[in-house]
Symmetry: C2
Subunit: 376 residues, 2 copies
């Protein structure tokens, strides 16, 4: 196993790339989807089962973990990997996005953000330096720069101010991160939907140098059309020899389109959250398991799926346990959704390797257009 | 595999017995603990994991299943085993206990009980004949007679009336059950804490003849002392060559004491319900995982336990996920509790086989007396 963090691109198809990110804790096959383990658990899943779906890496949320159980406690207990029983790579966000979106008791300055805990009212500070410290205490393999996720919509002026603040914080993050062989720090490009600002941001990040680069400030309400417009140029501005990560994305068709535009890494709560609200992702679109039409349906969610849910349980059963608010409903549908997402990524990787991504994407859209209703 | 339902007692130690109940769907090692799968799921567990703890048989609740998703629907979908993905034996109760304890919109007569569904207000009838029909539609391997669980306390007169009604219903249950090779119908002894009524009830059941016999009307608030007083004589009144089932019991020390008094089968929601409320059963007593003293504790729930929860997770982690109301908390602690119960039963069976039950019970009580607090 490697002692270094490195990205090896093994194949391209158009702008799409496939490869492997090597880390001391294991390889990450790209394009990669990272399930979200917010509070040191991928909700309703045991970590060995998340791994069994094909996940190479999880995402943890700095904001949630710093408040409970706290980064210092996790450090004393041996780090996040041991704490949550996941020995493969973990990426943590910086806490910046969530303190902005989840916490209304906050105050921003050039230095960072001060806020009160929603759990116990305690006061906290997040700065680039503190975010780096927390992510180090957690033992995160891929650390994200502390930044301000520019809200959408933003005027050109608002976006510029925000992006330039994030670039100063990126430099402070890099300095605070220090020299940690085997661990990676990713910069985050901002600039909203303004091409020249995306270029300025990319240039600032490239001059600092990171082990990977995220496209930030997307999937915040701008819609797929506008997101793809930005992705038509923004990833190209980032170094070709480093992984590119689109934060917080997304729906299956968002992922497919972003891969075609040169993105290598994704994370999203959608497959796990939908698992708890009874929405299942299938090759033929979304199944809303609570709908009455499933109540007598002996078929699995997806007859082409090999996950434990589809292998052993009918839609009728899932409809029943969802209505009865049984925990197994969340367990089974989350498992299916994570399996679906990982299978999608495996299909994408194979298609790129074979130079068949266009055909793969055509087939992907055609199957979805069929809808999930088949004759019984 | 056998095509018959039969009980083979392979060893005794005092009044305690160990053996095997053979059924076409698999063997049940006795003394046996049956996890409760009320609504076609053992809450927070996948059935293959319930099996992995050592469970040979599950219990399903007629009352819940008849209301949702309905017995007729489960029948159309291939029966309860297929519906919930459990191919081993299932015992179902008659619905009688729960319609009395959970439904306030009921009306009793000699014929049976009419009541309204708490889910949709629909009207239902439970009689011995209808209960047999529902349990047949579910595909239950061990069917329980429809009876009235005599409330505690009851006067001698109240208990007598109730017991005699249950004995008339037992005869109707036997007649309605019909001839179903490989399936079993169990009679239920009533009579509250009155020895002569227990004898009259046992005599009535013996004259009807059943494949097994339950001691009913206990664990309804009378306390362990009074329960054991009844168990000192009541099981002896039942046929020695048939399994004896103590319904709804119980705590680990209830089970140990009941085995010593000749009981072969148990069911209880305690290990699974406690799993969801953060109470873990261990050799050294109950651990309340939400207590602050666990917040930094790197030890597992029980350092002598080999379950997946104790193999990979600290009390600190469990404390965190319980406080954060994460589903994995219920999943892990339920798994541990079911593992503990099955390990207890395996220990009891081995001790009886070796004629060492008294030593086993002494050790059981001594370890519990130590409490769960050990030096860190």
């Amino acid at each position: 196993m490697t002692t270094k963090f490195k990205f090896n691109c093994t194949g391209t198809d158009g702008k799409a790339r496939t490869g492997v990110i090597s880390t001391p804790r294991g390889d990450i096959r790209t394009p990669a989807f990272m399930p979200v383990g917010t509070a040191a658990t991928v909700k309703a899943m045991l970590p060995e089962n998340v791994r069994a779906t094909g996940a190479d890496i999880l995402l943890g949320n700095t904001y949630h973990l710093m408040l409970r159980p706290t980064a210092e406690r996790i450090d004393r207990l041996g780090g996040l990997h041991k704490f949550m029983n996941w020995d493969r790579p973990i990426l943590t966000d910086s806490g910046g996005f969530q303190v902005m979106s989840l916490n209304e008791l906050r105050k921003m300055s050039e230095d960072g953000v001060t806020f009160k805990s929603h759990i116990d009212g305690s006061k906290h500070v997040l700065t680039p330096e503190r975010s780096m410290e927390i992510q180090r205490l957690l033992g995160s393999d891929i650390v994200m720069c502390f930044d301000e996720c520019t809200p959408f919509p933003a005027t050109e002026q608002e976006s510029l101010r925000s992006m330039q603040l994030s670039m100063r914080w990126a430099a402070r993050s890099r300095a605070a991160f220090g020299d940690r062989p085997g661990y990676a720090l990713f910069g985050i490009q901002q600039g909203s939907v303004f091409r020249d600002q995306r270029a300025e941001s990319a240039e600032a990040l490239r001059s600092i140098e990171f082990e990977g680069y995220a496209v930030g400030g997307l999937a915040v309400g701008e819609g797929q059309g506008l997101m793809f417009e930005v992705l038509d140029y923004a990833p190209d501005m980032l170094p070709v020899d480093k992984p590119r990560y689109l934060m917080g994305v997304g729906k299956p068709d968002d992922i497919v389109g972003a891969v075609q535009r040169g993105i290598d890494m994704f994370d999203c709560v959608l497959p796990s959250r939908s698992g708890r609200t009874g929405q299942a992702f299938t090759r033929r679109g979304v199944v809303n398991i609570k709908n009455a039409r499933h109540i007598d349906d002996p078929r699995p969610l997806d007859s082409d799926c090999t996950c434990p849910c589809c292998s052993s349980y009918s839609r009728a059963y899932l409809n029943h346990v969802f209505r009865a608010q049984e925990i197994i409903s969340s367990m089974l549908i989350t498992w299916h959704n994570l399996h679906y997402y990982q299978e999608l990524m495996a299909g994408i990787r194979a298609a790129i390797a074979q130079g068949q991504l266009d055909n793969f994407v055509k087939d992907f859209h055609e199957k979805r257009a069929e809808g999930d209703i088949e004759p019984l």
